[in-house]
């Protein structure tokens, strides 16, 4: 199964009985979506979303010898859009991150590969003025 998120293509395990939902193994969750489980809930950077304890069985399941997290259920709760075609799931931006990041005027961080093969992380350029400029061939 493939998850498209944050500009990356991630191949992850597939739960045998997924029933049309996107279940992600807990140990693969961070790499595939950026979110990770912490005592305070599901966290993406400094943003943490508490998970209702009375609905634990909706989110977490033991199956196929692993612990799984129902990401599509979680995404619906936080308003993150997702589209599926076959075994490929595409995740849109996390609304809270997209809105609060830009409204606070702090540039959203990203990591991308430069032409020379180096990794460019925007936050590594703190202390410098940065002009971001997009263009295309089309």
């Amino acid at each position: 199964m493939i998850i498209l998120a944050n500009g990356k293509t991630n191949e992850v395990s597939q739960r045998t009985e997924a029933n049309g939902a996107l279940w992600v193994r807990l140990d693969e969750l961070r790499g595939a979506t950026g979110w990770q489980m912490k005592p305070e809930g599901a966290c993406l950077g400094e943003l943490c979303v508490p998970l209702p304890a009375d609905r634990r069985e909706d989110w977490i399941a033991d199956a196929d010898g692993w612990v799984w997290f129902c990401y599509s259920e979680f995404a619906d709760m936080i308003g993150q859009k997702h589209v599926r075609d076959g075994d490929v799931w595409s995740l849109g931006s996390v609304p809270e991150v997209r809105r609060s990041g830009l409204e606070s005027a702090i540039a959203p961080d990203f990591e991308i590969t430069e032409r020379n093969g180096d990794t460019l992380r925007l936050s590594d350029l703190r202390g410098h003025k940065v002009v971001l400029f997009t263009w295309s061939s089309w």
């Binding site: 490929v88 849109g92 400029f133 997009t134 295309s136 061939s137």
Partner: protein
């Protein structure tokens, strides 16, 4: 940052011709525009030493530029954004062109459900394009176009999947139709001296002999 699903192969010749002294990346999944809420190229942001966005502008042409467009040529843009950028680099927060956080927030495009769903759909289309599944790519490009009809990044990248000439024709037709039927503004004014603001990118045609001949033939 070249936003191009074709990756380095599609953009390297322009990078090589420019001999850039700045950092260059290719963004085949349009990640940067998604993060900054941009819907066309060229777009640009100024980010200060503390990581704050102090200006975010669409239609930010770096200079007056002439492009080949099929058999014709068009002239686009002017020097207003480049001049203002130099002023910000020299004067920083004292530049009159810097925006406050409030000014930036007022100018951001709204992030509604259709915008977010279109983004996920467009990324799915890009994946199928990259993996050679043209049928599914076209289906999802069309869905993204339906959800976000004002996002020229999605439209033009999707049309280019069919072919460059097809994409150019679609841009011309859509621009002509909008000019006649819509009074909608596609970009906010950049509010810069000498900007020559237009509602959306309206090129000035420079008729080449071949294009002039074709125009005459079509009139017959």
């Amino acid at each position: 940052m070249a936003e191009d699903s074709g990756g380095p192969k599609a953009v390297d010749k322009w990078f090589d011709r420019a001999s850039p002294t700045y950092r260059c990346v290719v963004d085949p999944t349009h990640q940067i525009s998604s993060l900054f809420g941009w819907v066309n190229v060229p777009s640009a942001a100024w980010i200060d030493e503390e990581g704050r966005i102090v200006r975010s502008s669409e239609g930010a042409y770096p200079a007056e530029t002439t492009y080949r467009f099929g058999i014709g040529k068009v002239r686009l843009g002017n020097n207003a954004f480049a001049t203002a950028t130099r002023d910000w680099i020299e004067r920083g927060a004292h530049s009159e062109h810097v925006w406050s956080a409030k000014q930036l927030a007022e100018r951001l495009r709204p992030v509604d459900d259709d915008t977010l769903l279109a983004e996920a759909t467009f990324k799915l289309a890009l994946h199928f394009e990259a993996t050679g599944d043209g049928t599914r790519a076209r289906r999802h490009f069309a869905a993204a176009e339906h959800l976000a009809p004002d996002n020229w990044n999605y439209l033009r990248q999707g049309w280019t999947h069919t072919g460059t000439a097809y994409a150019h024709l679609k841009v011309l037709r859509r621009t002509n139709r909008l000019r006649k039927t819509s009074d909608k503004s596609y970009y906010d004014p950049m509010e810069l001296p000498g900007e020559n603001y237009r509602r959306f990118t309206e090129p000035e045609w420079l008729w080449t002999p071949a294009a002039r001949r074709l125009k005459q033939l079509l009139r017959r």
